[in-house]
Assembly symmetry: C2
Homo-oligomer: 156 residues x 2
Amino acid sequence: MKDIEIVAFCTDVVTRSKFAYLTTVNKDNEPETRAMLNLYNREQYPTLEKLLPFPPYEIYFTTNTSSEKMKEIESNTKSCVYFVIEIDWHGIMLNGDIEIVKDQDIKKKLWQDEWVMYYTSKTKDYTDPDYSILKLTANYIKGWTGREKIRFEIKK
Amino acid sequence: MKDIEIVAFCTDVVTRSKFAYLTTVNKDNEPETRAMLNLYNREQYPTLEKLLPFPPYEIYFTTNTSSEKMKEIESNTKSCVYFVIEIDWHGIMLNGDIEIVKDQDIKKKLWQDEWVMYYTSKTKDYTDPDYSILKLTANYIKGWTGREKIRFEIKK
């Protein structure tokens, strides 16, 4: 596949995947995977499309400040995220470094009112201290189109 | 949840998940995830149910000897696998160490004729040198039931 076809393929998978399967590395150097909300799913989060284009190859996640992965990220930034369309056997992994986003403006813009169910404080908005945003900046992509492997180096 | 309920939950997720999302750690200590055939999916692989019970918490995978993950496993055995029922928001991760299975008897018993499409040699059976089996022996499980987090330590 040409690069332009790979980008189109990746965009399709990222914007339709039901979840984003995020892997971080814990203090014992063990990888840990969990399902995260896929903020790039255009059907689930239509209002985030302008704010979260794809590409660029930066993936934002919402999480709980109190979650174990927050401590893991502070000591080890190596990370990957897998997106999949199970029915099509299409899947891609983006690999890079993950960080905690402190910018209150980005946190405010990404906030969705339905997320109050995940947070327990009384603020019921983006100022909830348990609301955190993560950003994975990818260096390369690997994937499977259902017929062939792909690999894509991300130019910086 | 009681342990017996957690085990029932995990068994349901593992035996219905469409794929097994396996993460290994590469030479640069980066986690890498890819979708693998889920040999524990009882609908897809009914003939493997007796050979591959769950529990115990050992997960077998089929792969290509020539794949990059084989080299990764030889230098770093830390690994995890994620199973998911996307429609139910049910997911579990098993975390432990992964190894290459050399036992020809196990390789023969697991072999499925339909897998010839993944291997290029002329043998067209379990003796294909590119056919390899991996085994992940889990130490703990983490998951999400759709309502709550679970954690389960595996007694040895």
